[in-house]
């Protein structure tokens, strides 16, 4: 029985399995954090100034179109195999989602709200940090959530990129028995759902209360 074998494989190799899970999580975390560090400031700046918006949106779409395996392949040619290689590919995977969501969240604050803030004498920085970014939080978090799930569900390609300390050590090695494959695939799915659920809780916690209320009147 494949299922029994799969379970036995996990039960017999706890250190290896936990190590691979930890490796997958660390790799994903580092990639997502880097993507956030680039995408949120950039998206906020573009959304706030409304300059280069077309460039950013199209750039994000181009990034989104890049096949991860192709990035890994070209990366091997340009900067070799290893952690950096897979990390770059994963950052490119998550970046466009977070970038567009941040941009849209900031840019789509009601024009009247921004004008009122300006008219009241709030500086550009105060408008960005006190009005636009809080307004964008739900969208930014949604982008981070989707990006993280993508990254976790793709991080196993680390195996192909020459960084084996992840679930990719099994998933990208088709010579191994199906039972091991099944075990790691299920783990990968569970991991993605768990992190998604966790981020949903974070999202609820950081969303300003006023943003959750459905208006009673169409004012």
């Amino acid at each position: 029985m494949v299922l029994v074998d799969a379970w036995r494989f996990v039960a017999d190799n706890p250190a290896r399995v936990l190590g691979d899970i930890a490796g997958q999580l660390v790799l994903s975390l580092v990639s997502v954090v880097i993507a956030i560090a680039i995408a949120v400031p950039l998206g906020a700046a573009i959304g706030h100034t409304r300059r280069f918006a077309l460039l950013a949106v199209n750039g994000a779409n181009v990034l989104r179109a890049l096949p991860t395996l192709a990035i890994i392949a070209i990366g091997i040619g340009l900067y070799g195999v290893g952690f950096i290689n897979i990390m770059v590919a994963l950052v490119i995977l998550a970046l466009p989602l977070i970038l567009t969501n941040t941009y849209v969240g900031v840019a789509e604050v009601e024009p009247g709200t921004v004008e009122a803030a300006r008219g009241m004498g709030m500086t550009g920085w105060q408008i960005l940090t006190q009005v636009e970014l809080p307004h964008a939080v739900p969208l930014i978090m949604a982008g981070i959530r989707t990006g993280t799930v993508f990254v976790i569900a793709t991080a196993y390609l680390a195996g192909t990129a020459g960084y084996p300390h992840t679930l990719g050590s099994v998933i990208t090695n088709p010579t191994l028995p199906v039972s091991q494959l099944l075990a790691y695939t299920v783990i990968a799915v569970l991991l993605a759902f768990a992190v998604d659920g966790l981020l949903l809780i974070v999202q609820r916690a950081v969303t300003p209360a006023g943003m959750k209320i459905v208006p009673v009147t169409a004012a």
Binding site: E110, A116, Q130
Partner: protein, 333 residues
């Protein structure tokens, strides 16, 4: 840049609570890429504590004129003075904090409570918590909303309530000058009349110099001490009191704008008591109204009774009479 937390506004400090004149001096605004100016050589002065209603057709430059005051738009030429000092000499941020700004879209911050919305500028000015809370409560009283509303969010308020909060937020730092761009335009007629009345009574308590943009001439007559009519192209057609505009429009454009019924409108500005000759006695059976009644209502009473003379009473006692001919003359035209 000075620290905004410790800085009182330019117009502020010494002036806070004291009304200031707003003066446009040959102001022209030409938007980039447009041949015709949006504002063309506009000169007018709003005396301290008065409300100036800017009226005119859509695209006439009302919003532009108003935004020039708090420098959301910079003039192409000319100057605007508040309390005798050019707005161009101030730091824009501090300037704006001393000018209340209310717009039709209201623009409440959806992620902040009502209290936090009202307290935005005091917070930026570095007031302490108790002072902000105290001010917020007073402002909620002022706009006649229960203090418990401070904890709600904008999405939980009706359109009229949101507009009241917009007003309270603009008043938060007690600015000497208020700019209001069609503030009540999106409200239904009943709510609108209610808020207009509240703002008028509030205006009596807190004398401020107000520029009030509207395209509704009736609102302008009701709210404005003075009315400025702009024609397309942003030129000033006429500037004066409602009575002057209605009684003596300078040309057909203004006459058209104030409406064919301007005689009637003018009658609603004055009471029968002002016109009544206290020495005259009304004939028996003449219809009777109290002195505070508007001439417009007096006229309709006369017409309904098919009479020539209207008896005017004060506290229930006869206090003179007005004739149909006199009312007709007061309507002018």
């Amino acid at each position: 840049m000075t620290d905004p937390a410790t800085q009182e506004g330019p117009v502020g400090a010494s002036h806070r609570g004291e009304a200031l004149a707003i003066e446009f001096r040959h102001v022209t605004k030409r938007y980039p890429g447009q041949d015709a100016p949006a504002i063309d050589d506009l000169s007018l002065t709003v005396p301290p504590g008065e409300t100036c209603c800017l009226v005119g057709p859509s695209g006439g430059g009302k919003t532009t004129a108003m935004k020039l005051v708090n420098r959301l738009i910079e003039p192409t030429s000319g100057d605007i003075l508040i309390g005798g000092r050019s707005v161009l000499t101030y730091d824009v941020t501090t300037l704006r904090r001393d000018i209340g700004y209310v717009i039709q879209q209201v623009g409440l911050f959806p992620h902040m409570t009502i209290g936090a919305n009202i307290g935005t500028i005091p917070r930026l000015l570095g007031w302490d918590k108790e002072r902000i809370a105290e001010r917020t409560g007073r402002l909620l009283d002022l706009v006649r909303l229960d203090r418990s509303y401070a904890k709600r969010y904008p999405a939980q308020l009706s359109g009229g309530q949101q507009q009241r909060i917009g007003l309270a937020r603009a008043l938060a730092a007690d600015p000497p000058v208020m700019l209001m761009d069609e503030p009540f335009g999106a409200l239904d007629p009943i709510t609108r009349a209610e808020i207009q009345d509240e703002f008028l009574s509030l205006e009596n308590e807190i004398r401020k110099t107000v520029i009030f943009v509207t395209h509704d001439i009736d609102e302008a007559i009701k709210m404005g001490d003075k009315i400025a009519v702009l024609r397309p192209g942003g030129r000033l057609a006429q500037y004066g009191s409602a009575d002057e505009l209605l009684g003596d429009p300078v040309d057909d454009f203004v006459a058209d704008f104030v409406g064919a019924d301007r005689g009637l409108k003018r009658l609603s500005l004055r009471s029968v008591g002002e016109l009544a000759d206290p020495g005259r006695e009304a004939p028996p059976g003449a219809p009777s109204v109290s002195a505070g009644t508007s001439l417009r209502v007096g006229l309709s009473v006369l017409l309904a009774a098919n009479a020539e003379v209207l008896e005017v009473t004060k506290e229930g006692r006869p206090a003179g009479a007005v004739t149909l001919a006199e009312i007709r003359e007061a309507a002018g035209s």
